[in-house]
């Protein structure tokens, strides 16, 4: 077979070109440490790398969320700790105050401390988290959840939050709640002396009933109390359990106390003729009401009333303890869950990153020895080219 002179040159040059392309590719892979410089290098691996990258980024975000969730739950834990301490002290004070031999000065001193402890308790209930959000306000975390108020003769604490709970995402499939609503922790406490107040739907006046309280546990019997206005200024009272407590034609004064069988309430504003207000047995008593009754009890007129009220307080506050304990147990459980999820995420990150490395990273040993090989081939090709092109018949013709 013939071979043309230009072919000899072209073949040599083609080989150099091919080798140089391979060497430049290897150089890029080695210097960047990245095997995939373009999707076309390995299309399937490139798409897979994108997905794994997302898995890692997401897992890192979940770890960040876990830290925040952890912070928030620990804040709640510390706060409930403080709440427990205050309640312990109030319990002690209540028992002290129940001592019949105590003189009124000492009892007043106890009353002063009780008031302070109550204020401290209220401020704990209004705790803010690191972002300035109220911890126990439910969704309405921008609003202070607990506020003292007075309706007529009754002092009480209003809840301005809701029953919502915030969750954070801690893995692709798992959310964890990072607080408890104030309603759950402070309001929904079961009690035998819980009272519900109802304003009849058919009422035409503007009359409003204050939260009713058991101010004298010694005379309290669970019952339905109905207050019916016979005119704008007079009302009748019916006590379903103790008809002896029934009143006819009492005179209405805006905001004055209405006492029926150990229960005290107030009606404010302007009720109209025929308006009906009822007080019935309820399920939940909020812990502020329990405390308010205790504070008020210090000045109770009779020993019987005082000791019955304090006994009631002790029962109610034990129910509250149970709730705090439930919440703390659940916080502990959630903190544990966070820890184990954190480990799981970490393990996921490590595994994914190692998969990423095998897909994406240059195998240095292989790449460098490959580079040596390609260089040797190139050098050999160059040497052969020089030899072949230097021999021509013209050299021998003179």
């Amino acid at each position: 077979m013939r071979i043309s002179t230009s072919q000899i040159f072209l073949q040599g040059i083609d080989t150099f070109g091919e080798q140089q392309v391979k060497i430049s590719k290897l150089q890029q892979q080695i210097s960047t440490g990245n095997r995939l410089t373009k999707p076309s290098d390995d299309p399937a691996a490139s798409a897979r790398v994108l997905e794994l990258d997302q898995t890692v980024t997401q897992a890192l975000q979940y770890q960040e969320n876990i830290t925040l969730a952890d912070n928030r739950l620990r804040l709640e834990e510390t706060t409930t700790d403080g709440i427990e301490n205050v309640v312990f002290r109030l319990r002690e004070l209540a028992i002290q105050a129940n001592n019949a031999s105590l003189d009124s000065t000492s009892r007043n001193a106890i009353g002063v401390e009780m008031n302070e402890r109550f204020a401290e308790f209220l401020s704990l209930a209004n705790t803010k988290d690191a972002n300035g959000d109220f911890l126990f306000a439910g969704f309405q975390s921008g609003t202070q959840p607990f506020a003292e108020a007075t309706t007529g003769a009754i002092r009480h604490v209003n809840y301005l939050g809701d029953q919502g709970q915030r969750s954070l995402q801690i893995s692709q499939t798992r959310q964890i709640t990072v607080d408890n609503s104030g309603s759950e922790l402070f309001l929904e406490i079961p009690s035998l002396t819980a009272l519900n107040e109802t304003v009849a739907n058919a009422n035409t006046g503007t009359g409003n009933i204050a939260p009713a309280q058991v101010y004298d546990a010694s005379t309290f019997v669970p019952s339905n109390v109905t207050i019916t206005f016979t005119s704008a200024t007079t009302y009748d009272v019916t006590d379903s359990a103790t008809p002896a407590n029934n009143v006819v034609g009492a005179v209405y004064t805006d905001g004055s106390a209405i006492d029926v069988g150990g229960v005290r309430t107030s009606i404010t504003a302007a009720p109209a003729t025929g308006d009906v207000f009822t007080i019935s047995q309820g399920q939940y008593k909020n812990v502020f009401e329990t405390m308010q009754t205790l504070v008020d009890t210090i000045n109770a007129p009779t020993v019987d009333q005082r000791s019955a009220n304090i006994a009631g307080f002790l029962t109610d506050i034990d129910n509250f303890f149970t709730r705090v304990l439930e919440v703390r147990t659940s916080i502990g459980g959630r903190l544990n869950a966070l820890d184990s999820q954190k480990d799981a995420n970490e393990a996921n990150i490590v595994v994914t990153q190692s998969t990423l490395a095998t897909l994406r990273d240059t195998d240095m040993t292989a790449a460098i020895s490959q580079l040596r090989l390609e260089q040797t081939t190139l050098e050999a090709a160059q040497a052969v080219f020089a030899r072949i092109t230097s021999s021509t018949l013209f050299n021998f013709l003179n």
Partner: protein, 639 residues
């Protein structure tokens, strides 16, 4: 008796010419397309003297080039295929580069966007986190816009390349025609039947150059005139009559040029028939890679926008209003064909991401019905109307068919401008809808253990969504509501008794809640507007979860997988083109080398010829001396 001197002179002349051919070969050793030439030396007719024949020396019969039709055609055909693949691979690698850039691709900004969404869920009331979300959303859309800009540039460059190549093709055809006519003039020059080897070389070179631009078929007639055909046998050159191609904007789609065959008899759009060569590569790339990649990127953008917007609308912003769209994009592009004679109009909107495809569509009117056909061949039909609505592959087309004329057609590109047009439309951080619009509660006066789930929005367009709703139990097994309530398939008017069972699912005013527990008469459960719920992150958690939801491709791919499949598609197209190009490159080299081994000049061979001819020339010259000596001897003997 033959003349010794004449015989010697014929040898001298013959060898001189042969030497000149050899030197022509040597001089052209590096000339591309040059075929080595050789002389055919024959002996002159002999003189008859008596009964014997006496030779009269040598002469040159012909100078011819080394040529093999099969080898030439092989090179030409391989060149067409190779240059198509080369062009295609070169263009595809541009897209490959765009998507490869780790800073420039979509992926990192997608991660950032969802990271910011998570940050808002961590602290929903934080203005800083909300501003950061708007900023990352803006850089996310800017990334889409930038990549599309580069795609568009590539589309414009491809278009101008197509025009350029078409001009080159026309120039080459004219040049070949000129050689044809030069050959016709020189045919039989001097009474012989030889063609000029150099002209033939020139024409072969031009034809190979033409084959580089587009696939051609070549026919040579007995007079050595060449005819060239393109496409499905349209003649672009017949002997000395050349036709031309013309690149001009598509009547149905002015952004893309079509190629029109400007024949002697017919004029028509030949784009679909042109294959091979650079032109084939350009057309192939434009249709199968660039168009597809742009549509796929557009679909990704539309998908993110639609999914995020839908979730945003289900939420409540910091001002206590229902959420608004975060992103906007332009609706599908509808192009009315310039040949339409009717007055029908079409408008299209994307209505379902999960079935949205990356196809383009044509909508044609046959006088009674509209038929839509996708580029992948699926079709649907709807009777004409004003309006007629056609829901097809995730897009709702509203056809106002009054005044439609037979043959009217529209091109619809649902996803082409998705990536170009996506932008963030919210600038006020308070408008990020992080909260759910409703919250539920159980009354503290309840005597039972009734509980209510947080509630899910099923229809954010319900005007009563934010109106307070209560569920009041009249007994342990029955309740009423102040709103119309749907349980299962049964609807209950406000105030009607609704049977209760544990975990009953009820729907009212566009939300759904679960009621559970053991109720007592008088228990009340409430659902109300979540105004003031600044610490609620339920909706932003749902937004964050969109990252893992398979919303594309009939519920089979999430955002990342959808974008990943685009990267995979472009990568494998480029990869395949590179491999095929290299394989075809090897074939081309083999074909060239086969051809070159026949027609190429070998200097050693020429050197040998040089020596051979030189020696023969010297010998012939020696004969002249001999003849002179003979003559001298004769003269001396007579003097």
């Amino acid at each position: 008796m033959p003349d010794l001197l004449n015989t010697a002179t014929s040898g001298l002349l013959t060898f001189q010419r042969a030497l000149s051919t050899t030197s022509h070969n040597i001089a052209n050793v590096n000339t591309p397309g040059y075929s080595r030439q050789s002389v055919e030396i024959v002996s002159k007719n002999a003189s008859v003297i008596g009964e014997s024949f006496y030779g009269n020396g040598a002469q040159i019969q012909s100078v011819s080039r080394a040529y093999d039709q099969f080898l030439t055609q092989e090179v030409r055909d391989t060149t067409s295929v190779h240059s198509r693949l080369e062009k295609f691979a070169e263009l595809a690698s541009h897209i490959d580069d765009v998507l490869a850039d780790p800073q420039g691709g979509i992926s990192p900004s997608l991660h950032e966007l969802f990271g910011s969404i998570q940050d808002v869920s961590d602290d929903p009331a934080s203005t800083t986190a909300r501003i950061a979300l708007i900023n990352t959303a803006q850089s996310f859309t800017a990334r889409f816009n930038n990549i599309d800009e580069r795609f568009e540039q590539l589309a414009n460059n491809t278009n101008s390349d197509i025009r350029e190549v078409v001009n080159e093709i026309n120039d080459l055809v004219v040049a070949i025609r000129n050689v044809n006519s030069a050959l016709n003039d020189s045919h039989g020059f001097g009474g012989g039947s030889q063609e000029s080897s150099d002209l033939l070389d020139k024409r072969d070179g031009l034809i190979t150059e033409l084959a580089e631009k587009v696939e051609i078929q070549v026919l040579t007639d007995p007079n050595n005139q060449m005819s060239i055909f393109i496409g499905n046998g349209q003649n672009i050159l017949t002997g000395q009559t050349a036709s031309s191609l013309l690149a001009k904007p598509n009547s149905a789609n002015p952004t893309q040029d079509v190629i029109v065959y400007n024949g002697q008899i017919t004029v028509f759009d030949i784009s679909e028939q042109l294959k091979g060569g650079e032109l084939g590569g350009l057309l192939d790339f434009r249709k199968n890679v660039l168009g597809e990649a742009r549509n796929a990127l557009g679909r990704s953008a539309i998908g993110v926008a639609e999914a995020v917007n839908a979730q945003m609308r289900k939420g409540m912003d910091l001002n206590g209003n229902l959420g608004q769209d975060l992103f906007s994009y332009t609706d599908p592009q509808v192009i009315s064909a310039s040949t339409n004679t009717g007055t029908a109009t079409v408008s299209s909107v994307v209505s379902d991401i999960s079935t949205l495809r990356t196809d383009d569509y044509s909508l044609n009117f046959d006088g009674a019905n509209w038929t839509i056909t996708s580029t992948s061949g699926s079709t649907a039909t709807v009777a004409n109307g004003a309006p007629a609505t056609l829901v097809f592959e995730g897009v709702t087309h509203t056809i106002n068919g009054a005044g439609a004329a037979l043959g009217d057609s529209f091109i619809i590109k649902p996803t082409l401008f998705g990536s170009k047009s996506i932008e963030v439309v919210i600038s006020d951080p308070n408008l990020i809808a992080a909260a759910a619009p409703i919250r539920s509660s159980a009354s503290l006066n309840n005597l039972g253990t009734t509980a209510i789930s947080p509630g899910i929005v099923t229809d954010e367009t319900n005007v009563n969504l934010l109106t307070p709703v209560n569920f009041s139990f009249t007994s342990a097994t029955s309740f009423t509501s102040n709103a119309t309530v749907v349980v299962g398939v049964t609807s209950y008017a406000p105030g009607a008794a609704i049977p209760y069972s544990n975990n009953v699912q009820v729907e009212a005013n566009g939300f759904r809640v679960n009621l559970s527990g053991a109720p007592q008469a008088g228990d009340v459960l409430n659902v109300q507007s979540n105004a003031g719920g600044t610490g609620d992150n339920r909706n932003v958690l749902a937004l964050a979860n969109l990252q893992n939801q398979s919303i594309f491709n009939g519920g089979k791919a999430n955002f990342q997988e959808d974008y990943g499949s685009l990267v995979g598609f472009v990568g494998s197209q480029t990869n395949a083109a590179n491999i095929e190009r290299d394989a075809m490159g090897t074939l081309l080299k083999q074909a060239e080398s086969r051809n070159s081994s026949l027609v190429g000049v070998n200097l050693d061979e020429e050197a040998a010829d040089l020596v051979r001819l030189q020696q023969a020339y010297q010998a012939a010259a020696r004969i002249i001396t001999t003849a002179q000596n003979i003559f001298d001897t004769l003269i001396r003997s007579v003097s």
